[in-house]
Symmetry: C2
Subunit: 320 residues, 2 copies
């Protein structure tokens, strides 16, 4: 068995037998899928994951960064095409690790429709094109926020950034349990699975937070033609992130790192105030924090509880 046979053997059980034609033809055939939301994300070894990251978690991250995009558009997954450029020097036994990671995402809706496997003299390079169905009321776009809307985010912000620091061996004054959890949050992102129907039914605009809360808020603000004001103290942090921030020499600067660090894969959205209760009811326990408000204007401002713009923000965190 060469590596391509191995891949076929490992990936076939992940495929939709009908649409993927058993992965034994040249294309997938999807009958009457209805409206589609389609996203593509690529990960490169040494850029988006570390050469030391287990391939099981790399595969899960690939699936989850795409799930994150679909969720934030208010769509649920139909299936995905995988392109895999496999380094000649990587032991083929690792293909089983990669496939096991994908298999763990089947319960979140990962189904393979097809793809392409090639070899590369360079780093492991993987991309997934994921097709989804918009939920009722969706898709939710970056455009659509209106002055007066609330700004909200799911889950917690900053754990992905802190987890990257753990992965790269940064010294961090936290206990081992927290360090392990942060590392896991970096390697296997935690998008708000199941949130798409609530978002599609109630939100006015949304996107997923991948490049940092502030940068991505800026994109939503620009595309919607509004200003977003975010209250620093309302940004949801995990207990580990709160402890890390408290221990920092400059807590404001530390908060800046958390809100610009990226790798969060939460959904940032805007919503009319009178729709919030309905969204929360539909979200069935998924954590949703109100962190600010949309106003007439442009750009993103990070303010303290008195409304004063935080000094560090004024000095220009990236993408403000």
């Amino acid at each position: 068995m060469d590596e391509f046979d191995l891949i076929a053997a490992h990936f076939a059980p992940l495929a939709d037998p009908q649409a993927a034609l058993d992965l034994l033809d040249d294309a997938a055939y999807l009958q009457g899928p209805g409206d589609l939301v389609i996203t593509a994300d690529a990960l490169v070894e040494g850029v988006h994951f570390l050469p030391t990251d287990p391939l099981e978690t790399v595969a899960r991250k690939l699936a989850r960064v795409n799930f994150s995009d679909l969720i934030a558009k208010g769509a649920e997954p139909i299936g995905a095409l995988l392109t895999l450029a496999w380094p000649k020097r990587r032991p083929t036994a690792q293909i089983a690790d990669f496939a096991r990671g994908l298999a763990l995402e089947q319960s979140n809706g990962l189904t393979l429709l097809g793809g392409d496997t090639v070899s590369t003299p360079g780093p492991l390079t993987i991309s997934l094109t994921m097709l989804g169905s918009p939920c009722a009321g969706g898709p939710v776009l970056r455009a659509g926020a209106r002055p007066g809307d609330l700004v909200c985010v799911t889950g917690v912000i900053g754990d992905g950034y802190l987890g990257l620091n753990v992965a790269t061996g940064e010294a961090m004054p936290l206990d081992a349990t927290w360090l392990a959890d942060l590392l896991d949050a970096y390697r296997v992102p935690r998008p708000p699975f199941g949130f798409a129907p609530a978002l599609a039914a109630h939100a006015s605009a949304a996107l997923d937070v991948s490049d940092g809360l502030i940068a991505d808020a800026g994109r939503l603000a620009k595309r919607s033609g509004v200003a977003l004001t975010i209250e620093a103290e309302r940004v949801p942090l995990s207990a580990a992130a709160r402890a890390w921030r408290s221990a920092a020499d400059d807590p404001v600067q530390a908060l800046g790192a958390l809100v610009t660090g990226g790798d969060d894969y939460q959904t940032l959205f805007t919503i009319a105030p009178d729709r919030l209760d309905g969204l929360r009811a539909a979200a069935r326990g998924i954590a949703v924090s109100v962190i600010g408000r949309a106003e007439a204007g442009s750009g993103v401002r990070l303010v303290d509880s008195t409304g004063a713009i935080l000094a560090a923000a004024r000095q220009g965190w990236s993408h403000f």
Copy 2:
């Protein structure tokens, strides 16, 4: 402008403004596309194209290897998602070359729906996921050939293989015009554009010839559960390929190289004999050669005009 801004500037004109949401959101939104045929192909610098190949032709090749898959399934393109891992060391001016190549494929139906652009410390790695609509009677699968069907192929076989030899500086006793044309055939494959409706209406099974006529015929035979016999002298060759073969020390071995070399991107198909005239009428001048016949059994045999299996084939060209 960083490389990502440059890419956005160059790629935006290639996008479907409505479905791609101006490439300014996180996903594409395709309303009611109907049945879909979906294919994905990846190309890696140093593996699928040479570092010296102009990026304009690399982009065209990426589009055309995907077009080739859609055509061979009897489908016409709707749109595509591009993932581009751009080497840090490549001059960003080359992005314009790459985009120009994609633009030249717009007349063949290339429309961008979205994608992802990342940087890589490794070789240029590009993949395209292309969505298509099956034509009436399609899609055409690898399975479906029946004993008694004719085996046919579009265009000519072997020019891609000879063009690769030109690109790598192999000495070839051919005049300069032919050498230039073969190089072009390797760099910018020539799938049978416009053939999908005729194929979908009339063929019993099909796939595109990318890994060599014999290897791909073997895949169709296996999936259809038939044997394919191909007459060597009926395999269509260009004038350049015929001249190259005549000048070879061992013409049978030379033919073997042409039918196993790959990079043809023609459509190989089977068809009931009484459908051939209808297909040819619908194909409107696209060259279609009858090269053999499907029979009960398995595998692929390459025979001479007397029906004897060619010695070189018996000794085992790859994938027989």
